[in-house]
């Protein structure tokens, strides 16, 4: 059976509960659903953040997430997968990204969700710009994100 995969890039917010319901509705083969929600923080260190603006590369963003979704399906026995990534202006407290993984057992769902998030952070073509009190600036990539993604490289 083909595993249902949903990938959406959108400016609008999403409803996490609705996405969980959508992945498991009418199914009796799913024993575990893991979700990761990335949410806009109101501050970084001591500096307040008024908003984030996410720029993305239309076409490549879908393709790149699709490639990693395909890899996740090959590496873990998933029974459902949803990735939603927002772009545009996002204020603190709002959702940025959602990963939902479903499987018969929890281990595959947990690992696949973590794998997808680590790759989204370092390989999906999105760029965050932070608005603060002193103006706005592009967010620097974090070395710890590269290290997190490198854990999943096949030896």
């Amino acid at each position: 059976m083909t595993v249902p995969v949903t990938i959406r890039l959108q400016e609008a917010d999403f409803d996490t509960a609705r996405e969980i319901a959508a992945i498991s509705r009418g199914r009796t083969d799913i024993g575990a659903v893991v979700t990761f929600s990335g949410i806009c923080r109101g501050g970084e260190g001591g500096d307040a953040i008024a908003a984030l603006t996410l720029e993305h590369y239309p076409g490549m963003a879908e393709a790149e997430i699709g490639r990693h979704a395909e890899e996740a399906l090959q590496r873990w026995p998933l029974t459902g997968l949803t990735v939603i990534h927002r772009y545009g202006r996002i204020v603190p407290g709002e959702n940025i990204v959602l990963v939902v993984t479903a499987s018969s057992h929890r281990e595959a769902a947990f690992e696949a969700a973590e794998f997808l998030m680590d790759y989204l952070k370092t390989k999906a073509p999105f760029w965050k710009r932070e608005e603060g009190a002193g103006g706005s600036a592009w967010v620097d990539a974090a070395a710890h994100d590269d290290a997190a993604a490198a854990r999943w490289t096949k030896r």
């Binding site: 590369y57 790149e64 952070k121 999906a124 965050k128």
Partner: protein, 83 residues
């Protein structure tokens, strides 16, 4: 070929996309960065630290050693900060 720029690379160059016809001697992504850097100070500024610039050819990540022959769209951008 079509070149597209994102985030601070786009801002430094001052445009989101353009079509260029590099000479035949420009064979790799690194060659293209060098050639673009000679087109004006805004390009030199965008590519001043070429090591950090990421590249995609036709929507897939590539290294700077990749050949550009046959590419429809080449993208230059900073390290990604999504998720």
């Amino acid at each position: 070929m079509k070149i597209v720029y994102f985030a601070w690379v786009r801002e430094r160059i001052g445009k989101a996309e353009e079509t260029v016809e590099p000479p035949a001697a420009v064979r790799t992504v690194a060659d293209l960065i060098g050639w673009l850097s000679g087109r004006g100070e805004q390009y030199a500024y965008a590519f001043e630290n070429a090591r950090v610039i990421r590249t995609a050819i036709d929507h897939a990540h590539v290294q700077q050693t990749a050949a550009i022959a046959g590419a429809r769209e080449i993208a230059f951008f900073p390290p990604m900060t999504g998720g």
